[in-house]
Symmetry: C2
Subunit: 435 residues, 2 copies
């Protein structure tokens, strides 16, 4: 451990100097006095790990601080605090583990590592009595992770409902407001830099799954591994879904939801209908929002920018200041606690909610009766039916059915049977109605 007596600077090692790393370096180098005032002691950027030392960067980091050898940080006993902003699982996870095992406090912005290996790393932190903070891993500038563990700590949480992927929310906002189809909206998002050239991670929900895994672990103090989270992307949504949803009083958003009831957790990421007057329905464009429901506080929603240099830097530096304040006051920060590895995560089959179904059917008498019978046989009660877009030439029409609360398994079974009907051309949409 470094000398932390009064007035001595707190040395920080920074792993990564990309967009966010640049923001963190700028905060420590250019705002040194402001940070020192907040911490009560100077905070000194001692070493910065980069892959390519020769590369030009927009932050002026003195050459003497730059290294390409991770050991210059991980094995330096004078660095009590390591900040990781490399991203991705490899090699970041190993660096984090080495840093924690060396008794260093760690701040990370890495959602993939925290989702896949967070419980393991938190256990190392706990055993070494150090802190592992990761506010920046979910929701950028939205301070939800800190709030769950600090300001809202008095609560037992029942649910986390969130819009935590800005790319998909931008695409869905465009599709809803401008009746664009998915492909066009995606292309536009890519043009504006909101979607990557390979957008799979975002539009298929993997990114949101990582983040939900982290949030649910914190809210429920339980392991909710990414692979236990049900996942559907947004690629099959069509302009009609938005039109009919709106007629019925709903918006369509890609939601990441985890709920806890009777000790069992259910977690899912999918596009769903939510009532237009719900605050989550009003989250537009690249904004994110996380709503938690607590036993005392009720529903609390935090809305803000989920990504980008500024918001992510805000989160990383917030964590950094928290640890540095503890070091500055001579106390050890309360070590991080790993979520417990107990209880199971329920299958999507057990979900119970209302459903929105859109089907292409033969436009002739008696067809609705056949479908209604199949639903009825599975104990699914119909809430509303809209018959739409009749096509006299093909003698087809589109029907939109909403159900009363029903079990997912039954709905899936009913749709399988409906698919077998000669009069059902295609099942276009199966969407859940949330709230």
């Amino acid at each position: 451990m470094s000398d932390l007596s009064h007035g001595n600077p707190i040395n920080v090692g920074l792993l990564g100097l990309g967009v966010v790393g640049g923001g963190v370096a700028a905060a420590l180098l250019e705002q040194a006095e402001v940070v020192a005032a907040k911490v009560g002691r100077p905070v000194n950027l001692k070493k910065v790990l980069v892959r390519d030392a020769a590369r030009k960067r927009d932050v002026a980091v003195p050459d003497s601080l730059i290294t390409t050898n991770p050991e210059d940080i991980l094995s330096d006993p004078d660095i009590p605090l390591v900040v990781e902003v490399i991203g991705g699982e490899t090699p970041a996870a190993q660096y984090l583990k080495d840093a924690l095992q060396a008794g260093k406090h760690v701040v990370t912005a890495n959602k993939e590592v925290m989702a896949k290996r967070g419980p393991e790393l938190l256990a190392v932190a706990q055993s070494r009595g150090v802190n592992l903070l990761y506010e920046a891993s979910v929701g950028g500038g939205i301070p939800i992770i800190g709030c769950l563990g600090k300001e809202l700590v008095a609560n037992r949480f029942h649910s986390v409902r969130s819009i935590i992927n800005g790319t998909t929310n931008y695409i869905l906002t465009r599709m809803a407001n401008d009746h664009t189809d998915f492909g066009l909206a995606l292309a536009e998002a890519q043009e504006r830099g909101y979607a990557e050239s390979d957008p799979t991670n975002d539009i298929e929900g993997f990114d949101a799954v990582y983040k939900l895994s982290i949030l649910a672990g914190l809210a429920f103090h339980r392991r909710v591994p990414p692979e236990s989270i049900y996942r559907e992307g947004i690629t099959r949504l069509q302009p009609q879904d938005f039109r009919y949803a709106r007629e019925l009083g709903y918006a369509i958003k890609s939601l990441a939801i985890a709920t806890e009831a009777d000790g069992a957790i259910q977690a899912r990421v999918y596009p769903a209908l939510i009532p237009q007057d719900n605050m989550l329905a009003k989250v537009d464009g690249v904004y994110n929002a996380v709503e938690v429901e607590g036993s005392l506080c009720g529903r609390v929603l935090i809305h803000g920018r989920g990504a980008g240099r500024g918001p992510t830097t805000s989160a990383v530096v917030g964590d950094l200041v928290e640890i540095a304040r503890s070091l500055s006051s001579g106390s050890t920060p309360l070590p991080s606690v790993a979520p417990e590895d107990t209880g199971s995560v329920r299958s999507i089959d057990d979900l119970e909610c209302q459903y929105f179904l859109r089907l292409n059917i033969a436009d002739r008498p008696g067809v609705l009766a056949q479908i209604a019978r199949i639903l009825g046989d599975q104990n699914i009660s119909i809430a509303s039916v809209l018959q739409k877009d009749a096509n006299p030439e093909a003698q087809t029409a589109e029907i939109v059915i909403t159900t009363h609360p029903a079990r997912e398994l039954w709905v899936q079974r009913a749709l399988q049977q409906a698919e077998g009907l000669e009069v059902v051309q295609e099942i276009n949409s199966l969407l859940r109605i949330e709230d």
Copy 2:
């Protein structure tokens, strides 16, 4: 100071056992194990100050804990942590000061005391090296105070925009949605328990001024005394204002806003127009929301229940756990810092924004020209004019003018002149357009 060695309980003295006090007592008595797990040490409710020991209460607090003598708490060296939920300035402020001077950490839910005497009390806390936390004083379950000082600490803040009085927001929501007039909406709020029998504090904006004073002090690290905040109530709003605002794409909300620019702060509480797609426009009923704009995080908005036993208890217990955790880990919590007493708060005369004006005028040619000339003479440029509700019998009509950004002083001068015109019957509304 009490003995804080490992395993010994942390004693808490509770001042007040009303609605919130009952919630705090219940958390400490009925959820003792949960609280202990969060703190790392048992937290023991040692004494509870009440006014009337004989009164029936809905929380079972053992008689042995009840006292009517504040000294049983304030002078007890074995109580390191005092929670005040009495409310009102007297005698609460003196109790808080005594507790701090005795070296006790303090948690308070008291907005009036924190607004009027917060800087003084924070200075005492600072000099004694203890903590004074007050999350519950603003926005109930909305964790904005903690976030400004912790999760979002990396930011320099430019503005605080908020809806922080549930009573007025309920009334305005009713007026907007159901075309009710003010009196009816107020009566209904009183019936439902959302407004007090003397509603002055809420509807005239005093409550919001206290809360804004606290938020602005924290955000800008500067004293913003309640008396420096411009204040207008909601009593003069009429159903037409909501109708015309909606036509122009705006909602009307009672906003509490503080902004900082070039070292000068401007703070005001008044009903104002905001664009319908602004998140604050979507805050309905008794909900509250606070939006801060930070140098790194951009706009972050927190939405939740602003009052009531659960949300306020959540905030108080969150603060209590924070201090108890520090005591439990053997470290002294970082002492609170008083805002600096520098710089001035600007007069409302210096405000620059767009305006919404509603006037009753004589319905004859040339009247608009006269009004437009007066506005033009004060450098106020018109953005839109709606002529409405002509009354052929009285030969009057209503006009609604929106302006481009203009200085408040000029607008006030122009309206004074307009009032003098023979063709102007009445100036019904002068509202600011925010954002």
